[in-house]
Symmetry: C2
Subunit: 126 residues, 2 copies
DNA sequence: TATAATTTGCAAGTGACTTGCAAATTATAA
DNA sequence: TTATAATTTGCAAGTCACTTGCAAATTATA
Protein backbone atom coordinates (compact mmCIF):
# COMPACT_ATOMS: atom_id res chain seq x y z
CA UNK A 1 0.00 0.00 0.00
CA UNK A 2 1.33 3.38 -1.00
CA UNK A 3 0.86 6.51 1.07
CA UNK A 4 -1.89 7.84 -1.18
CA UNK A 5 -3.91 4.65 -1.00
CA UNK A 6 -3.46 4.37 2.75
CA UNK A 7 -4.63 7.94 3.28
CA UNK A 8 -7.65 7.55 1.04
CA UNK A 9 -8.69 4.36 2.84
CA UNK A 10 -8.21 6.02 6.24
CA UNK A 11 -10.36 8.97 5.23
CA UNK A 12 -13.20 6.68 4.19
CA UNK A 13 -12.83 4.57 7.33
CA UNK A 14 -13.12 7.64 9.52
CA UNK A 15 -16.08 9.07 7.64
CA UNK A 16 -18.41 6.18 8.59
CA UNK A 17 -20.75 7.26 5.80
CA UNK A 18 -20.39 7.33 2.02
CA UNK A 19 -17.84 9.84 0.75
CA UNK A 20 -17.71 11.12 -2.80
CA UNK A 21 -14.62 11.12 -4.96
CA UNK A 22 -14.90 14.89 -5.18
CA UNK A 23 -14.90 15.28 -1.39
CA UNK A 24 -11.74 13.19 -1.24
CA UNK A 25 -10.09 15.17 -4.02
CA UNK A 26 -10.81 18.35 -2.07
CA UNK A 27 -9.57 16.91 1.20
CA UNK A 28 -6.31 15.82 -0.39
CA UNK A 29 -5.89 18.65 -2.85
CA UNK A 30 -2.62 19.80 -1.33
CA UNK A 31 -1.26 16.25 -1.02
CA UNK A 32 -2.35 14.29 -4.09
CA UNK A 33 -3.43 14.92 -7.63
CA UNK A 34 -7.12 14.13 -8.33
CA UNK A 35 -5.96 11.45 -10.78
CA UNK A 36 -4.13 9.75 -7.91
CA UNK A 37 -7.21 9.89 -5.69
CA UNK A 38 -9.37 8.40 -8.44
CA UNK A 39 -6.78 5.72 -9.12
CA UNK A 40 -6.53 4.90 -5.42
CA UNK A 41 -10.30 4.49 -5.25
CA UNK A 42 -10.30 2.14 -8.24
CA UNK A 43 -7.48 0.15 -6.75
CA UNK A 44 -9.15 -0.17 -3.34
CA UNK A 45 -12.48 -1.15 -4.83
CA UNK A 46 -10.80 -3.67 -7.12
CA UNK A 47 -9.02 -5.17 -4.11
CA UNK A 48 -12.35 -5.51 -2.31
CA UNK A 49 -11.66 -2.93 0.39
CA UNK A 50 -14.31 -0.47 -0.79
CA UNK A 51 -17.82 -0.56 -2.19
CA UNK A 52 -19.29 2.25 -4.25
CA UNK A 53 -22.50 3.49 -5.76
CA UNK A 54 -23.63 6.40 -7.89
CA UNK A 55 -26.13 8.90 -6.59
CA UNK A 56 -27.54 12.00 -8.20
CA UNK A 57 -28.54 15.00 -6.16
CA UNK A 58 -29.75 18.36 -7.47
CA UNK A 59 -27.02 20.32 -5.74
CA UNK A 60 -23.96 18.13 -6.27
CA UNK A 61 -24.90 16.44 -9.51
CA UNK A 62 -23.99 12.86 -10.25
CA UNK A 63 -21.14 11.48 -8.18
CA UNK A 64 -19.74 8.15 -7.11
CA UNK A 65 -19.68 7.52 -3.35
CA UNK A 66 -17.45 5.11 -1.49
CA UNK A 67 -17.84 3.13 1.74
CA UNK A 68 -15.75 0.42 3.37
CA UNK A 69 -16.59 -2.95 1.91
CA UNK A 70 -18.96 -5.11 3.91
CA UNK A 71 -20.39 -8.53 3.19
CA UNK A 72 -23.79 -7.23 4.15
CA UNK A 73 -25.70 -5.19 1.63
CA UNK A 74 -26.91 -1.88 3.13
CA UNK A 75 -28.89 1.10 1.90
CA UNK A 76 -28.59 4.79 2.61
CA UNK A 77 -30.69 7.89 2.96
CA UNK A 78 -29.31 11.11 1.52
CA UNK A 79 -30.36 14.47 3.00
CA UNK A 80 -31.12 17.08 0.35
CA UNK A 81 -30.17 19.89 2.71
CA UNK A 82 -26.96 18.90 4.43
CA UNK A 83 -26.03 16.11 2.02
CA UNK A 84 -25.12 13.76 4.82
CA UNK A 85 -26.08 10.12 4.72
CA UNK A 86 -28.11 8.10 7.22
CA UNK A 87 -27.67 4.34 7.35
CA UNK A 88 -30.97 2.61 6.63
CA UNK A 89 -29.59 -0.72 7.80
CA UNK A 90 -29.30 -4.02 6.02
CA UNK A 91 -31.26 -4.58 2.83
CA UNK A 92 -34.84 -5.66 3.41
CA UNK A 93 -35.83 -5.90 -0.23
CA UNK A 94 -34.58 -9.39 -0.96
CA UNK A 95 -38.00 -11.06 -0.84
CA UNK A 96 -39.65 -8.41 -2.96
CA UNK A 97 -36.78 -8.51 -5.45
CA UNK A 98 -36.95 -12.31 -5.65
CA UNK A 99 -40.66 -12.04 -6.29
CA UNK A 100 -40.20 -9.51 -9.12
CA UNK A 101 -37.49 -11.68 -10.56
CA UNK A 102 -39.79 -14.71 -10.61
CA UNK A 103 -42.75 -12.85 -12.05
CA UNK A 104 -40.79 -11.60 -15.06
CA UNK A 105 -38.30 -14.44 -15.47
CA UNK A 106 -35.37 -12.12 -14.86
CA UNK A 107 -31.95 -13.05 -13.52
CA UNK A 108 -31.57 -10.11 -11.15
CA UNK A 109 -27.97 -9.93 -9.99
CA UNK A 110 -28.06 -6.62 -8.17
CA UNK A 111 -30.25 -3.73 -7.23
CA UNK A 112 -29.80 -0.09 -6.33
CA UNK A 113 -31.88 1.64 -3.71
CA UNK A 114 -31.60 4.93 -1.93
CA UNK A 115 -34.01 7.30 -0.28
CA UNK A 116 -33.82 11.09 -0.19
CA UNK A 117 -35.51 13.81 1.82
CA UNK A 118 -34.70 15.84 4.92
CA UNK A 119 -32.86 14.45 7.93
CA UNK A 120 -34.03 15.12 11.51
CA UNK A 121 -31.30 17.72 12.16
CA UNK A 122 -32.21 19.75 9.09
CA UNK A 123 -35.91 19.46 9.80
CA UNK A 124 -35.37 20.94 13.23
CA UNK A 125 -33.65 23.95 11.66
CA UNK A 126 -36.38 24.66 9.10
CA UNK B 1 -45.43 22.83 -28.89
CA UNK B 2 -42.67 23.21 -31.42
CA UNK B 3 -41.74 20.50 -33.90
CA UNK B 4 -38.68 19.41 -31.94
CA UNK B 5 -40.62 19.00 -28.70
CA UNK B 6 -43.43 17.15 -30.43
CA UNK B 7 -41.03 14.72 -32.09
CA UNK B 8 -39.12 14.05 -28.86
CA UNK B 9 -42.36 13.36 -26.99
CA UNK B 10 -43.56 11.05 -29.76
CA UNK B 11 -40.35 9.08 -29.72
CA UNK B 12 -40.63 8.50 -25.98
CA UNK B 13 -44.31 7.61 -26.27
CA UNK B 14 -43.57 4.99 -28.89
CA UNK B 15 -40.63 3.52 -27.00
CA UNK B 16 -42.77 2.28 -24.09
CA UNK B 17 -39.63 1.91 -21.99
CA UNK B 18 -37.12 4.44 -20.66
CA UNK B 19 -35.05 6.13 -23.36
CA UNK B 20 -31.79 7.93 -22.72
CA UNK B 21 -31.04 11.45 -23.87
CA UNK B 22 -28.16 10.03 -25.89
CA UNK B 23 -30.43 7.61 -27.75
CA UNK B 24 -32.71 10.51 -28.63
CA UNK B 25 -29.80 12.67 -29.77
CA UNK B 26 -28.71 9.84 -32.05
CA UNK B 27 -32.20 9.27 -33.40
CA UNK B 28 -32.61 12.94 -34.22
CA UNK B 29 -29.06 13.73 -35.20
CA UNK B 30 -30.00 14.75 -38.73
CA UNK B 31 -33.00 16.79 -37.57
CA UNK B 32 -32.07 18.55 -34.36
CA UNK B 33 -29.02 19.69 -32.52
CA UNK B 34 -28.28 17.77 -29.29
CA UNK B 35 -28.78 21.02 -27.37
CA UNK B 36 -32.31 21.20 -28.76
CA UNK B 37 -33.03 17.61 -27.74
CA UNK B 38 -31.76 18.27 -24.21
CA UNK B 39 -33.76 21.47 -24.00
CA UNK B 40 -36.89 19.71 -25.25
CA UNK B 41 -36.46 17.06 -22.56
CA UNK B 42 -36.10 19.70 -19.84
CA UNK B 43 -39.14 21.52 -21.15
CA UNK B 44 -41.29 18.38 -21.28
CA UNK B 45 -40.24 17.26 -17.82
CA UNK B 46 -40.86 20.72 -16.43
CA UNK B 47 -44.32 20.70 -17.97
CA UNK B 48 -45.06 17.36 -16.32
CA UNK B 49 -45.20 15.31 -19.50
CA UNK B 50 -42.08 13.26 -18.74
CA UNK B 51 -40.43 11.63 -15.75
CA UNK B 52 -36.74 10.84 -15.63
CA UNK B 53 -34.16 9.02 -13.59
CA UNK B 54 -30.42 8.47 -13.71
CA UNK B 55 -28.98 5.01 -14.12
CA UNK B 56 -25.38 3.89 -14.36
CA UNK B 57 -24.40 0.87 -16.40
CA UNK B 58 -20.90 -0.38 -17.08
CA UNK B 59 -21.25 -0.18 -20.84
CA UNK B 60 -23.12 3.10 -21.32
CA UNK B 61 -21.94 4.99 -18.28
CA UNK B 62 -24.18 7.36 -16.38
CA UNK B 63 -27.17 8.61 -18.34
CA UNK B 64 -30.56 10.13 -17.70
CA UNK B 65 -33.53 8.13 -18.96
CA UNK B 66 -36.98 9.45 -19.77
CA UNK B 67 -40.47 7.92 -19.67
CA UNK B 68 -43.93 9.39 -20.09
CA UNK B 69 -45.15 10.87 -16.85
CA UNK B 70 -47.51 8.74 -14.81
CA UNK B 71 -49.13 9.35 -11.47
CA UNK B 72 -48.13 5.86 -10.42
CA UNK B 73 -44.59 5.29 -9.30
CA UNK B 74 -42.97 2.36 -11.17
CA UNK B 75 -39.60 0.65 -11.13
CA UNK B 76 -37.51 -0.87 -13.88
CA UNK B 77 -35.09 -3.67 -14.51
CA UNK B 78 -32.14 -2.95 -16.77
CA UNK B 79 -30.52 -5.79 -18.75
CA UNK B 80 -26.72 -5.63 -18.70
CA UNK B 81 -26.53 -7.39 -22.05
CA UNK B 82 -29.09 -5.80 -24.35
CA UNK B 83 -29.66 -2.68 -22.22
CA UNK B 84 -33.40 -2.92 -22.61
CA UNK B 85 -35.70 -2.24 -19.70
CA UNK B 86 -38.36 -4.49 -18.20
CA UNK B 87 -41.21 -2.94 -16.26
CA UNK B 88 -41.24 -4.24 -12.70
CA UNK B 89 -44.68 -2.80 -12.09
CA UNK B 90 -45.89 -0.34 -9.52
CA UNK B 91 -43.74 0.39 -6.50
CA UNK B 92 -44.12 -2.15 -3.69
CA UNK B 93 -41.64 -0.55 -1.33
CA UNK B 94 -43.90 2.02 0.28
CA UNK B 95 -44.44 0.10 3.51
CA UNK B 96 -40.78 -0.72 3.92
CA UNK B 97 -39.80 2.86 3.14
CA UNK B 98 -42.32 4.21 5.63
CA UNK B 99 -40.90 1.86 8.22
CA UNK B 100 -37.32 3.02 7.59
CA UNK B 101 -38.49 6.60 7.72
CA UNK B 102 -40.12 6.07 11.12
CA UNK B 103 -37.18 4.17 12.58
CA UNK B 104 -34.73 6.97 11.83
CA UNK B 105 -37.02 9.99 12.06
CA UNK B 106 -36.41 10.89 8.43
CA UNK B 107 -38.71 12.81 6.12
CA UNK B 108 -38.29 10.61 3.07
CA UNK B 109 -39.72 12.39 0.05
CA UNK B 110 -38.54 10.06 -2.68
CA UNK B 111 -36.64 6.92 -3.38
CA UNK B 112 -34.76 5.40 -6.27
CA UNK B 113 -34.81 1.73 -7.05
CA UNK B 114 -33.72 -0.30 -10.01
CA UNK B 115 -32.62 -3.86 -10.55
CA UNK B 116 -30.03 -5.11 -13.02
CA UNK B 117 -29.05 -8.51 -14.41
CA UNK B 118 -29.88 -10.52 -17.50
CA UNK B 119 -33.28 -10.55 -19.17
CA UNK B 120 -34.93 -13.81 -20.35
CA UNK B 121 -34.12 -13.18 -24.03
CA UNK B 122 -30.43 -12.67 -23.35
CA UNK B 123 -30.30 -15.62 -21.01
CA UNK B 124 -31.67 -17.87 -23.74
CA UNK B 125 -28.86 -16.75 -26.05
CA UNK B 126 -26.04 -17.40 -23.56
C1' DT C 1 22.01 -1.59 -2.77
C1' DA C 2 20.96 -2.18 -7.76
C1' DT C 3 17.41 -3.11 -10.76
C1' DA C 4 12.79 -4.08 -12.00
C1' DA C 5 7.94 -3.05 -11.44
C1' DT C 6 4.54 0.15 -10.00
C1' DT C 7 2.64 4.57 -8.97
C1' DT C 8 2.42 9.48 -9.29
C1' DG C 9 1.80 14.27 -11.27
C1' DC C 10 0.78 16.87 -15.04
C1' DA C 11 -1.63 17.89 -19.04
C1' DA C 12 -4.65 16.60 -22.36
C1' DG C 13 -8.73 13.91 -23.53
C1' DT C 14 -13.82 12.02 -22.86
C1' DG C 15 -18.66 11.93 -22.40
C1' DA C 16 -22.82 13.94 -21.03
C1' DC C 17 -24.62 17.58 -20.83
C1' DT C 18 -25.12 23.21 -20.44
C1' DT C 19 -24.91 27.99 -21.93
C1' DG C 20 -24.28 32.50 -24.64
C1' DC C 21 -25.68 34.56 -28.54
C1' DA C 22 -27.39 35.68 -33.05
C1' DA C 23 -30.55 33.84 -36.42
C1' DA C 24 -34.85 31.54 -37.24
C1' DT C 25 -39.59 30.30 -35.50
C1' DT C 26 -43.65 30.98 -33.28
C1' DA C 27 -47.11 33.66 -30.88
C1' DT C 28 -49.77 37.87 -30.14
C1' DA C 29 -51.48 42.36 -31.52
C1' DA C 30 -53.17 45.57 -34.65
C1' DT D 1 -52.71 39.31 -42.56
C1' DT D 2 -48.94 41.45 -41.42
C1' DA D 3 -46.01 43.83 -37.96
C1' DT D 4 -43.89 43.19 -33.71
C1' DA D 5 -42.79 40.86 -29.61
C1' DA D 6 -41.45 36.59 -27.35
C1' DT D 7 -39.54 32.13 -27.67
C1' DT D 8 -36.72 28.55 -29.63
C1' DT D 9 -33.00 26.85 -32.38
C1' DG D 10 -28.17 25.87 -34.05
C1' DC D 11 -23.57 26.50 -33.35
C1' DA D 12 -19.60 26.87 -30.70
C1' DA D 13 -17.59 27.09 -26.47
C1' DG D 14 -17.78 25.82 -21.67
C1' DT D 15 -18.43 22.70 -17.47
C1' DC D 16 -18.06 18.75 -14.57
C1' DA D 17 -16.59 14.31 -13.21
C1' DC D 18 -13.72 11.62 -14.32
C1' DT D 19 -9.81 9.01 -17.47
C1' DT D 20 -5.46 8.36 -19.85
C1' DG D 21 -0.56 8.86 -21.83
C1' DC D 22 3.83 9.53 -20.48
C1' DA D 23 8.00 10.71 -18.09
C1' DA D 24 9.59 11.22 -13.40
C1' DA D 25 9.40 9.55 -8.74
C1' DT D 26 8.35 5.58 -5.51
C1' DT D 27 8.20 1.15 -4.07
C1' DA D 28 9.23 -3.74 -4.31
C1' DT D 29 12.30 -7.63 -5.33
C1' DA D 30 16.76 -9.70 -6.22
Amino acid sequence: MTKARTHVLEAITQAKEPVSARQLCEKFQSDYDPATVYRALHYLEEKGRLDSFILHCAEHGTERYYVLHSEEHRHWFHCERCHRFTDLGLCRFDDLVAQMSLEKGLAITSHTFYATGICPECRRKM
